[in-house]
Subunit: 248 residues, 6 copies
Amino acid sequence: MLLHLATWQEVENYLKISSGIIIPIGSTEQHGPTGLIGTDAICAEAIAKGVSENHQVMVAPTINVGMALHHTAFPGTISLRPSTLIQVIIDYLTCLTEAGFTRYYFINGHGGNIATLKAAFSETYYHLSHLKVPQAAQVRCQVGNWFMCRSVYQKAKELYGDQEGSHATPSEVAVTQYVYPESIKNAFLSPDVASGYAIYGAEDFRVHYPDGRMGSNPALATPEHGKELYDLAVKELGESYLKFLAGD
Amino acid sequence: MLLHLATWQEVENYLKISSGIIIPIGSTEQHGPTGLIGTDAICAEAIAKGVSENHQVMVAPTINVGMALHHTAFPGTISLRPSTLIQVIIDYLTCLTEAGFTRYYFINGHGGNIATLKAAFSETYYHLSHLKVPQAAQVRCQVGNWFMCRSVYQKAKELYGDQEGSHATPSEVAVTQYVYPESIKNAFLSPDVASGYAIYGAEDFRVHYPDGRMGSNPALATPEHGKELYDLAVKELGESYLKFLAGD
Amino acid sequence: MLLHLATWQEVENYLKISSGIIIPIGSTEQHGPTGLIGTDAICAEAIAKGVSENHQVMVAPTINVGMALHHTAFPGTISLRPSTLIQVIIDYLTCLTEAGFTRYYFINGHGGNIATLKAAFSETYYHLSHLKVPQAAQVRCQVGNWFMCRSVYQKAKELYGDQEGSHATPSEVAVTQYVYPESIKNAFLSPDVASGYAIYGAEDFRVHYPDGRMGSNPALATPEHGKELYDLAVKELGESYLKFLAGD
Amino acid sequence: MLLHLATWQEVENYLKISSGIIIPIGSTEQHGPTGLIGTDAICAEAIAKGVSENHQVMVAPTINVGMALHHTAFPGTISLRPSTLIQVIIDYLTCLTEAGFTRYYFINGHGGNIATLKAAFSETYYHLSHLKVPQAAQVRCQVGNWFMCRSVYQKAKELYGDQEGSHATPSEVAVTQYVYPESIKNAFLSPDVASGYAIYGAEDFRVHYPDGRMGSNPALATPEHGKELYDLAVKELGESYLKFLAGD
Amino acid sequence: MLLHLATWQEVENYLKISSGIIIPIGSTEQHGPTGLIGTDAICAEAIAKGVSENHQVMVAPTINVGMALHHTAFPGTISLRPSTLIQVIIDYLTCLTEAGFTRYYFINGHGGNIATLKAAFSETYYHLSHLKVPQAAQVRCQVGNWFMCRSVYQKAKELYGDQEGSHATPSEVAVTQYVYPESIKNAFLSPDVASGYAIYGAEDFRVHYPDGRMGSNPALATPEHGKELYDLAVKELGESYLKFLAGD
Amino acid sequence: MLLHLATWQEVENYLKISSGIIIPIGSTEQHGPTGLIGTDAICAEAIAKGVSENHQVMVAPTINVGMALHHTAFPGTISLRPSTLIQVIIDYLTCLTEAGFTRYYFINGHGGNIATLKAAFSETYYHLSHLKVPQAAQVRCQVGNWFMCRSVYQKAKELYGDQEGSHATPSEVAVTQYVYPESIKNAFLSPDVASGYAIYGAEDFRVHYPDGRMGSNPALATPEHGKELYDLAVKELGESYLKFLAGD
């Protein structure tokens, strides 16, 4: 039920049964000395596929570059400006709504996307309400952040305590280790890791977080943890999706 | 210390002492049958002035139209699109940064502004980093939501319990009653008030929240409560501002 | 009849009687050594309220930051780019037109806004004509510049002659003194004041008008003059508004 | 000295002597039953060439589509939105300024362009001030409206009195007859011609001005008048250009 | 049948017979030491007029500034950004489609315009499909590049062989010599002319093509060749236009 | 050497050796009754990875939604507007250029992307030249269309002759069968398949190409063909990339 691996006639048939679709969104940004640059997209995509398998939901291609401007002082980071990402979301949802979709569930792997996604949803509702698209008034969007699932959060606390941190966390690194065990990285991780500074511009971020981590110890991650966290996220977001779809 | 009531030479002198400024931001949107359309701007502006008086901070003119697209099915609501508001913020902060300001503290009266403000801050840092403005790298923005202050929140719970709700709340109505006692409104308030529906487009919002309130009973508000809530917000946001300004 | 102090149900009732609204627009810009940065917004807002009281017209919140890019070399000035202001106007008028308003009368306090407002009106008519808004074809906008009222102009000439100048004028300073008597400023005003140079970019402006005045002697202003000028503007713009509203 | 008929090396040589250039701007819009759709561009271009010949000024290609949204209910009208025209002006002046030009004199044939041009100039100065273009601070723009030249205005009054009107005027038609004598049109012109209505949206305009004229009697035009008006405009705008170029 | 020399009533009559229009588009860019800066616009306009005369087609005013950013390191070049040109095309075609035109045939004189034109056509179809314009679904656009006509190409090869090159070609210079025999230029042309480098940014272009030519020897051009090439282009594009118009 | 599977420190090291990167770009659009909606992204991504393995090139995450507006009348298609895609490309290349990359090689799977990509490159060079990015002048972009490789083209002709067609071709379907053998689809394919109509708007496209194919017979595709075509594309584009990187 991946849109990319379906034909248009299969989509047409799917729309007879459901108007819901999951859109994974991640980021392409530094994740510390051992975290993969694609961490957020990898996690969001893998979990979205898991939900899709459990609940026969269509999954759109992953938006793998999101809003990561504050990480752009580290090489390898690619970010859209918020105003670009808003236009991207409008374009996606206009096409899909004209085809008959009306329920958009974004499985999100990056905290930095949340604000822009919410802004984009508001602008999309408004934009669609002015077009000649009949089902515009039925359109609804929701963000499901896998790392903020209650069950995931509890498990991460249990496994890592204070060393979970808030960026390049062992929990997200663990999920990528589970998905790409051949890409587990080793690098020196200073035992002193910065934390607690607010996020402003990119230069300022790198000054305060010189190796890219925010209070985390990703060395604690294991692929087995990743499997556990993945399973929890798939279960909880699957339930959340069904509830969203059933919403009056 | 209101920018509007200062001369440019007074601003020049102020900049020798401080590079911080408070920007109140509200909204122009329905607030139920008895709430003022300007509630969010009124609260933000009043509290910003209170902080200014206590701490000699410059206060910019209030942004009184924000992001309220979901309220536009009620007459009187005016909203910017998120992409417009982002450009407005960029324009404000570019002008002010070229003049020497670098610390922007937004006192916000509307939950619906938060996402777009955060997106706008990211885009502004990035935008400024590409201009010929020397102090661009020092620019920092923060949002202080008066209604989310811990002390305000506790007082509202104490005064109103579950009847605080989440829009057209007695606490915000109370602050406007304190500021504009001559504009206290009376209207029929159905004892059955909707709550718990997620926010999507404007039409959908009005279907679910037909009189505009979200789970609130604004009839509980009094000007005296408003004074108490105002005092708490001024105190807590004043401390928050000083901490922001002192941040390394 | 201030939108900010009304409820949405009061707006709904107002729309049964009238589809007209006044939108005050000013600027946040230097006004010489003794003029308030908010001069243009203060004057526009005060006069709009006066017209409202006389004629029971709804008044929208003041647009207090306008098009003042040429003043941005002086600290304290905040300006929108013309292209941003056009989007702001489109957003305002789309919301208000969807609610049922069709006659927009802008009471303007700043010459620099006129060109962009006119451009914005054209773009708004065109924009609305393409939306699904039934009353789009009825929409009309007009600018009423209080400082260009015939009666105001004559009074200013009578009071100040050549010393009226064209920016930081005694007449606008007088109106702010009438509105904010506690904010009357004193500062050295060079008897030699530049005048007659055309306006180009911001740096060029400051080179030619080093203290921000353009040919004016604001030291002549008094609160009593302000009261007289205010009364004339309220009367003339009130008549102009009624004529606009009645236009076929 | 037409840019279109020059080589880049001739432009390079010209820039050693002068940094001034004339940019004719017209419109493509209805001009009543006998006026050419290109009237405004034809007049602006012809007069610009006349000034060029007298004073060896470089003339850029004519911007022949301007801001004429209010005429778009008549077939044949083409208009840019103001926000598009602003971007066009920014693009033109950025290219020319990078090449060394700094003085832009727009010879304009259409009243409807004036507001957007002024807005565009402001935005261009601001835009250029943020680029890496060394001569940005020297950039200056001016509009010369041929139909508002004092000498032209007086001659038109003398020739046509009240029948000059304000759109599809005999004076502009006369200039096109002088330039394109083979394209003089004949059509029925109702002796009753509307005048005095304000300009709002396109539909409203056509309702009030059903044949496109605004208070004018273009049947009075002759090619001989056109020659006289042309000569006056070329003379007066030539002097205006020289004064602009010499401005400190 | 030039739109500029028609009245709106003539356009109205034309639309009863045909919904097709030709839009010439050129560029304002360096064409080597002897080529006119307006070469591409001159050729496109002349050929469009030729087609118009043969087939009674309406011709819109020439878009004489196109997409020539890669030539902007040479003085005299003016270019729109692609995103600006897209908006310009949307504006043109929205106005013309609302009037009843549906078939847009662009006679193009500049290779650098092709990509942006194609992008603009896609965006215009999409834009129009969302407006309240009834004939939006019938809109079709096509580019006819005169220099890529089979007959023109063969003639150029026959006349100039390898010395045709790909910019500032003898064939385009020849057409301008035919149209403007009084503007034939002489300048030193190095026998060594660069060719074969790909086109990237403007600075890079000038480094590799120091006099602006790309592998061409425009000294071979004659007005007589220009006449031959012009005749071939008019014939072939005329046939192409008729085929386009007749397309199902 | 996939950016998504690298750490930022690995990218930093890579940049010491090379400033080149491959960016795969596809589309999310109907590909007839048996072609996968993700066909263009799947092919581009697979071939990019192949080139990466052979030549140790960094590969950015795939842009899997491109410019496919003409396919949007078929459900499942998602497209960016060209003006959105231009902003996306600018954002990508600004981030990467600030990090030190300068050579961008796009491996493209969709003909409909080419025009917008070219426009985006021009706009990006111009945009970067105005920023404070030192290496802006070195930036170069190139598109490598795998389906237009000479070797691929010849093989496709050899395998499929006229039945290759131009959309939903057996060659692209074959590559997806090789990459995703578990997703080979079967569906009725009418022996009569439309071809030869030009592409305009989305509705018009579906009228002329009712099942989405353009002159192709994808039933001829086999995974073995896919392997052959993949190998040819990897080889030819690898050589093309090396040549691009070595370009002076």
